[in-house]
C-alpha cells in the first residue's frame, strides 16, 4: 500500500510552515505554528491508518472495507488536547499583552547575564572603569525587543499593570 501523496505533501507543508512560525518572537505566531504542527501530526496519523475505507460500524459495512478507526480515535484525543493547550497559550499571550503591551517571547535571563558579563569584559580590556549597569537581569530581560515589534502600540507606563 502506498500512502496518499496529497496528504504527504500537505503534512510536509504544514510542518515546514509550523517550524518557521515556531521560531518567531511573537507568541501569537508561535501559537499558529503549534496549531499547524499539531494538524500536521494529526494528518500523519491518518496516513498511518492506511487506506481510506467506509465507516467502521459492524453491520453497516463489510469488515474488509472498513477504515481503521484506532488512528481516528487517537487523532480525536490529540485534537482535544491541542485545543485546550492552544486556549491556554492564547490566555498567556493576552496576559503578556496586558503586562507588556506586546506578546513576545523574551530572552532567557541567563543569556542576558552572559551578555552583560561579556560586555563588562570588553570594557575591562578597553577601560579602567568596570562598573556594572546597576540594573537587575530581570529588568534587562523585560526590555528586550526586536524587529517584530515595529508598529506595535506604544507602551503606556502603568496601564494594564496590576
Amino acid at each position: 500500500m502506498s500512502p496518499n501523496l496529497v496528504l504527504v505533501v500537505a503534512i510536509a507543508v504544514l510542518f515546514t510552515v509550523g517550524v518557521y512560525l515556531l521560531l518567531e518572537r511573537s507568541l501569537t505566531r508561535v501559537l499558529i505554528g503549534v496549531i499547524l504542527l499539531g494538524n500536521g501530526a494529526n494528518l500523519l496519523f491518518l496516513v498511518a491508518g492506511g487506506a481510506a475505507g467506509r465507516p467502521p460500524i459492524v453491520g453497516a459495512t463489510p469488515e474488509g472495507q472498513m477504515s481503521d478507526p484506532l488512528p481516528q480515535a487517537m487523532v480525536l484525543t490529540a485534537i482535544v488536547i491541542t485545543l485546550g493547550l492552544s486556549a491556554f497559550l492564547l490566555a498567556m499571550a493576552y496576559r503578556s499583552w496586558q503586562l507588556h503591551r506586546h506578546d513576545e517571547v523574551q530572552d532567557d535571563v541567563e543569556d542576558r547575564r552572559i551578555a552583560r558579563l561579556a560586555a563588562i569584559d570588553v570594557r575591562a580590556t578597553t577601560d579602567a572603569d568596570t562598573e556594572g549597569t546597576g540594573r537587575s537581569i530581570d529588568e534587562e530581560a523585560a526590555e528586550i525587543r526586536d524587529e517584530t515589534d515595529e508598529g506595535a502600540p506604544a507602551r503606556t507606563p502603568g496601564e494594564g499593570e496590576r
Partner: protein, 546 residues
Amino acid sequence: MTDWTWLVPLPVVVPLSAAGLALALYRRPTIQRIVSVAALTIVVIVSAALLVLADDGPLVVDVGDWAAPVGINLIVDRLAALMLTVSATVTLCVLLYSLAQGQEDDEESAPISIFHPTYLVLTAGVANAFLSGDLFNIYVGFEILLAASFVLLTLGGTRERIRAGTIYVVMALLSSVLFLVALAATYAATGTVNLAQLAIRLPEIDPGVRLLLQVLLVLAFAIKAAVFPLSAWLPDSYPTAPAPVTAVFAGLLTKVGVYAIIRTQTLLFPEGRLDDVLMWAALATMVVAILGAVAQDDIKRLLSFTLVSHIGYMVFGIALSTDAGWTAAIYYVAHHITVQTALFLVVGLVERVGGSTSLTKLGGLARLAPVLAILFFVPAMNLAGIPPMSGFLGKLGLLEAGVQVGTPLAYVLVVGSVVTSLLTLYALVKAWNKAFWQVPEVERPPTRLPFGMVGPAAALIVFGLGLTVAAGPLYAYTERAAAALAERTPYVEAVLPDGKRGKGVSVDVTEQAASDAEHGDDEPEPEAAGVAPADEAAPAGTGAGG
C-alpha cells in the same frame, strides 16, 4: 489468593475525582484542603500496597474490560510501583508544606483556590504515565501533567512567571508534537501502540525503521527529562514558580521523562543501538550542567542546574544496558526525586528567613535559623554523594556498573561522574557557606519558621535518609526490577497471557479472536490489526475521556 488488581487504577482515579471535588468546593477552603490531603494519603497507601504486591509479578488491569491490545491496559510492575510510591510520598509532603505556606502567607504568594484541583490533576497525570501499558496513554498522561504544570507555573500571572512560562509551554508543546509524530510512525510501522504488543512486533520490522522510531521516542522523552542539549529550558523556567511548585516539578516532571526512557529502551529496543549516543549525552548533561551550577549566584537556579546535571547519572545508568546499570539508575531516580524536592522545599524556607535567593545578599542564617542550616546541609550532602547517604550508594552502584562494562567510553563516564560529584559538592558547600556563614549586607529581623512548613521538609529529608537505612532491601528490589526489565517476558506475558490477547472480555470476538488474532500477528499491517473494529473504538472513549 485474593485478587488485588482493583487497586491498580486508584492512583489515577482518586486524585482525578478529588480534583473535580476540590474544584466544586472552591468556596470552602477548609473542606478543599481535607479532600486534597485525604486523596493523596489514599494514593500513598495504595502505592505502598502495590509496591509489595508487584514484587510477586506485574498486576494488570484491562480498562473497561476490553482485552489488552485492543483496549488500554494499566500495569504495575516493580519499576512502576517504586516510582509511584516515591512520587506519591513526595507529592503528599509538598502538599502539606504548601498548606502551611497558604496559612502563613496571603493569597498573593501562596496557593489560591485553583491550586488544589490543579495539583491533584498533576498527581493523576504522573500516576497515569507511570501505570500506562500503552504508548498513547503515556502521551495522554504526559499531557495531563503538562497542562496542570502550565497552570501551576504561571500561578498568579505575574510578569516574571509569564516570561518563564512562555518558554516552558512552547518547549513542552514542541516535545508533545514530537511524541505524536513518533506515535503515528510507530502505528504506521507496527499497527499497535500497546507496549507489550510492540515488544513482540518491533523485532519483526525493518531495523532502519526501528532505529527511526527509537530516535523519535528518545528525542521526545529527552526534552521532558531535560537531557543536554535539550535541557536549556529548565533552569530558566523552574525557579520563578512558588517554592512548593518548583519542588514538585523538580522532583517529578523530569523523572517521568526518565521513566519513559527506561521503559521504552528496555522493553521496546533491547538491542540498545543508541547506547553510545546516550552515553555522550549523559556525560555532556552531567558536566555542562554542573559547570552552570558552579557559576550561579541565585540558589534556586543553582539547584535547577544540579537537577539537570544529575539527570545525566540516570541516563548513564540506562545507557550501560546491563542489569547492574539499570539497578543503579532506578535506585538513583528514587533517591534523586526525594533529595531534590527536599532541597527546593528548604530553599523556600531560606527565602522566607533570608528574604532573597541571591547568594550575595543572603548571609548569617546560621545564627538566625540554626535548624535551617541542618535541614539544608543534610540533603545537600546527600545530593553530592557523601557516604553513607543514598546519593553515595546510587553513585557507587553506577560506578561499579560502569567499571563492569569496562569499555573506554564507560570509563570516561565513570571519571565524568566522579568529577561531577565533586563539583556538586563544591557548588553546594559554597552555597551553604554563603547563605549561612557570610556576614549579611543588612541584618534581617528573626523570622519564626512555621512548623507546618518545617515538618514536611524534615519528613522528606528523613524519608531520604530512610532510603539509606533501607538501602539493602531497596537495592535488592531495584535489582529484581532491573532483572525483570532485562528479561522482558514477565511484562509481556502479564499483559498478553497467550501472546495475543489480554484477560479482558471482548464482546463478539471472544470466539473468533484466536483465529483472527493469529492472522493479525502474521501481518503487522494496520489493516490486519483492525481485527475487531467494534472493539477498536474502545480506546476512543477512554482516550478522549483522559
